[in-house]
């Protein structure tokens, strides 16, 4: 088993498994900065995954497929934003409804187009290419680690930097953080709170949709029923563990990717596969407790030092 973990194959599997979660994690970072509990990523991803397949299959053009997929995901994000921000619907319930719509609605569309209820393998949809980076690929070891991944995997890692830059270095990012931390204060300096949150959710939806595209046009060559299988939620958990920091969130998504990769090969090591499938979730739970306990301790220390000072 250790042989596997130190193999090149494993690193590839981690990146492959981690890519969709990384996208959702970054989407969730933006959602969290705007202080909106969005759990609709699962639904957005499913629609994006299906949209990408349909777009590329009928146009035989990868760019068209990508655009159709992203738009499909964006529509879900926009519905979420409209209901939550303008109709005061509870975010949790809206997310729940849209995820339900995602699992059911996509199957419906698949059936409508292909007459089959399971997957779109009968459609000639396209895949994102694998990229072999020219010079780097020839460097021993490093070259074979960095080069040769799916295009979207590279986009996912670039997205970490983009999200970090957007959130911490741009005007829009500042506004998003402002409305997230204190909407009243933000409004008092003339920021349109609803519009800013709406934009944040659309950006967040766009990033999550890329994760959906990866599922059906990279990870797998076609769309299948409920193919995201909870990845939208794991991304949210990674964001939570990373406390909204894009870099730490990325590290957690890779940990999840790693435990999924181990899970996938567990059977060849005579480990029950269910046990391995359980690992990412169990690790998250333990991680949440550890981080929560540490934060609580820090808080207590802070309180103590404040009360000590106030006594003096």
């Amino acid at each position: 088993m250790l042989d596997y973990i130190f193999s090149l194959e494993f690193i590839f599997a981690v990146i492959r498994m981690g890519t969709p979660i990384l996208f959702v994690g970054m989407a969730a970072v933006i959602g969290a900065k705007a202080d909106i509990l969005c759990i609709a990523y699962e639904g957005m991803m499913l629609f994006a995954a299906l949209g990408g397949v349909i777009g590329s299959a009928y146009s035989q053009n990868l760019a068209v497929g990508a655009i159709v997929g992203l738009l499909a995901g964006l529509v879900i994000a926009a519905i979420f934003a409209y209901f939550v921000l303008y109709l005061d619907t509870k975010p949790l319930l809206t997310g729940l409804a849209l995820n339900t719509l995602g699992t059911g609605g996509t199957v419906y569309v698949v059936y409508l187009l292909t007459g089959m209820k399971l997957d779109t393998s009968s459609l000639a949809s396209l895949r994102f290419p694998t990229i072999h980076i020219p010079v780097i690929k020839d460097i021993p070891v490093i070259g074979s680690i960095i080069s040769g991944h799916n295009l979207l995997s590279y986009v996912a890692f670039i997205m970490v930097i983009v999200v970090w830059y957007l959130v911490f270095k741009t005007r829009l990012g500042l506004r998003i953080r402002a409305v997230g931390e204190d909407p009243a204060a933000a409004a008092s300096v003339g920021i349109n709170v609803r519009r800013t949150k709406f934009i944040a959710l659309l950006i967040s939806g766009l990033i999550a949709s890329m994760g959906g595209l990866f599922m059906s046009m990279g990870y797998m060559p076609y769309f299948t029923n409920n193919m995201t299988a909870g990845r939208g939620f794991i991304g949210i958990a990674a964001q939570n563990l990373g406390r909204g920091n894009p870099i730490i969130t990325m590290i957690y998504t890779l940990i999840f990717g790693a435990s999924m990769a181990i899970g996938n090969t567990a059977q060849s090591f005579r480990l029950p596969s269910q046990f391995a499938s359980m690992m990412p979730y169990l690790i998250t739970l333990i991680g949440l407790v550890v981080i929560g306990a540490r934060n609580k301790k820090n808080e207590r220390r802070l309180h103590e030092s404040i009360s000590r000072k106030s006594k003096v």
Binding site: L96, V107, S277, V289, K296
Partner: protein, 365 residues
């Protein structure tokens, strides 16, 4: 005084509007469903009729409705309780699944007389369900962990942990498919009215509905739950132990969901057959939303959901429409009922007009 304008209270108007909103949400969902079905169907009128009144077509289908309603009673009440305490604990799905697994473990033990065996399986399901929903609650009060995330993770832990138990030590290799050994006869729930698809889970479900409704609205603890749900600070100042209330409510809710899993498994199957989530927990969330967390209304909502689920099955048999149409209907209903501002302007106008009328009458006197 000669003209007696009927003055109603604001509360009555609010109730009336929540009913209107519910009906309108259902209507919008059905209209959507109509157009969606029209894209696939060869005979939309016939298929839409099946959706609307299909379950009434035969007594066997009506039995199916009731039988599908039984587990929903449990998960609906479970979610309504925990939501009343303001906890977005969505581990009911995992609690239901884990309850079914625990019940299976106990149901395989030989040589326990029937009534005791059934009580033991229910107890096992309840305890396991309570653990599954209790852990996120404890994590929340002790370590400030966001419940929704931990509850989600807990669902998957319950799912894979449960599948591990079923598919490794308890797997029956002679079953021909992935399933556990057969339950002992003494653990299988007795049927009702001589119909082998209705079991005493229905009675237990109604008992759960009644008891939790009494608990929530007629007992001090229920008052504490609702106070914590509405305003934790106020609850704290009025001497309610917020953390204790949250944990106890989650444990109770998990126990109910776990019993639901027990009853559903031992009432309908002769072995454990699930290979993934059953969606009963998610359905419970929809029911709690429909009922605004009032357990008393859960049977009606559960009946409605069981009805449209049966319609979907009927459609699947008689037409080319995929049963997933139900998810679309469910999604639209949830989203419109939960939309606080949907029809809010109209409601406000009514309330204002009503109070103005009340004032006018008061002045007239």
């Amino acid at each position: 005084m000669n003209k007696t304008h009927k003055v109603i209270t604001t509360k009555q108007i609010e109730t009336r509007f929540s009913i209107i909103r519910t009906l309108l949400a259902v209507a919008i969902a059905l209209v959507f469903a109509f157009f969606l079905m029209a894209t696939v169907s060869d005979n939309i009128l016939k298929d839409f009729t099946t959706l609307l009144i299909g379950p009434l077509a035969s007594s066997s289908r009506m039995t199916t409705v009731i039988s599908k309603m039984i587990p929903l009673l449990f998960t609906g009440v479970a979610v309504a309780l925990v939501y009343s305490a303001g906890q977005i604990n969505i581990a009911a799905e995992g609690a239901f699944f884990a309850g079914a697994v625990a019940a299976t473990v106990v149901a395989l033990i030989e040589g326990i007389p029937a009534p005791i065996h059934i009580i033991l399986t229910l107890l096992a399901g309840a305890i396991t369900g309570a653990i599954v929903m209790g852990i996120p609650a404890i994590m929340h009060v002790k370590y400030n962990v966001v419940t929704i995330v931990s509850a989600l993770m807990m669902n998957y832990v319950a799912l894979y942990g449960g599948l591990y138990v079923i598919l490794n030590p308890l797997r029956d290799p002679s079953a021909g498919f992935e399933a556990s050994f057969s339950f002992q006869r003494s653990a299988i729930l007795p049927t009702l009215f001589g119909n082998n698809r209705l079991h005493i889970g229905l009675l237990i479900g109604f008992a759960v509905v009644i008891l939790s409704s009494i608990l929530l609205y007629n007992r001090p603890f229920g008052y504490e739950i609702r106070t914590v749900g509405q305003n934790q600070k106020f609850a704290n100042y009025s001497g309610i132990s917020v953390n204790k209330t949250i944990v106890l409510t989650s444990l109770l809710s998990g126990a109910i969901a776990g019993m639901g899993g027990t009853v559903e498994t031992l009432g309908n199957y002769s072995r454990f057959v699930y290979s993934g989530f059953t969606n009963h927990g998610w359905d419970g969330i929809m029911l709690a939303v429909l009922c605004r967390n009032n357990p008393k209304a859960i049977p009606f909502a559960a009946l409605f959901l069981a009805y449209i689920k049966t319609s979907a099955d009927a459609l699947n048999l008689t037409s080319s429409i995929p049963p997933e149409i139900i998810s679309v209907i469910q999604a639209i209903i949830i989203i419109f009922i939960a939309a606080e501002r949907f029809l809010a302007n109209w409601e406000h106008k009514k309330i204002v007009a009503n109070s103005q009328r009340a004032l006018a009458i008061e002045k007239g006197e």
